[in-house]
């Protein structure tokens, strides 16, 4: 069973070798000329400031998106096996999954109406 993963590991090894090797080679062959401005972070023509620390670093929308993603991703976790076994589950499976999706849809509708999907 696990034999079928061996090729994947081989490919992974090749890719890793390539990636790590390239990075190493590049550091070896590339020039090194120090300049303080180079190691500063990028700013558009003004003196860069250290990244301000604090709670307002990310807009909260990102968290909301992440949470919504989790909710829907879970729905999909259940949809996949259901879809694969759809034919043998027959109408029972259809009914169950439709109710399940309807439930998610209720939450989805709520979220939409309450502005959870807005990026202002």
């Amino acid at each position: 069973m696990l034999d079928s993963y061996v090729p994947i590991l081989v490919l992974l090894a090749i890719a890793m070798l390539f990636a790590v090797g390239s990075v190493v080679v590049s550091t070896l062959v590339g020039p090194k000329r120090f300049n303080r401005a180079k190691v500063d972070i990028y700013e558009c023509g003004i003196e860069p400031e250290p990244v301000p620390a604090g709670p307002h670093r990310f807009p909260v929308k990102y968290y909301i998106t992440a949470m919504l993603f989790i909710v829907f991703d879970i729905e999909i976790i259940f949809l996949f096996p259901w879809a694969v076994a759809f034919d043998s589950l027959a109408v029972f499976g259809l009914g169950a999954m439709v109710s399940f999706m309807a439930t998610i849809f209720v939450a989805y509708a709520y979220m939409w109406r309450r502005g959870g999907l807005e990026w202002d």
């Binding site: 968290y63 992440a66 949470m67 989790i70 879970i74 976790i77 259940f78």
Partner: protein, 99 residues
């Protein structure tokens, strides 16, 4: 490959998670420790599933994942609310409620 090894690994992970909950002070880290515990349970379930040759354990792992995700959503919401108020996620800073 002795499946019991996975059980031991899961046990270790669970212990690490539990220790993390008890020792660490950052709410997010505590929370992640709890997730680690849940995932170690998943590992246990899948291992048992393999030992017994039944599928139930894997199905349970699905459920656990879902529940864990739901927990993440709720927990993050709560921790974020506190974080925004206090600008700190340390459990120790949250100490109005005592005795």
């Amino acid at each position: 490959m002795n499946p019991a090894n996975y059980l031991i690994l899961a046990g270790l992970l669970f212990t690490i998670g539990a220790t993390g909950v008890l020792v660490r002070r950052n709410a997010i880290v505590v929370f992640m420790s709890i997730e680690l515990m849940l995932n170690s349970v998943n590992l246990t379930l899948v291992t048992f599933s393999r030992i017994h040759g039944t599928l139930e354990g894997q199905i349970m792992a699905f459920f656990v994942m879902v529940v864990a995700a739901a927990e993440v959503v709720v927990g993050l919401a709560i921790i974020l609310a506190i974080f925004r108020t206090r600008r700190s996620a340390s459990v120790d800073d949250v100490n109005l409620l005592k005795y």
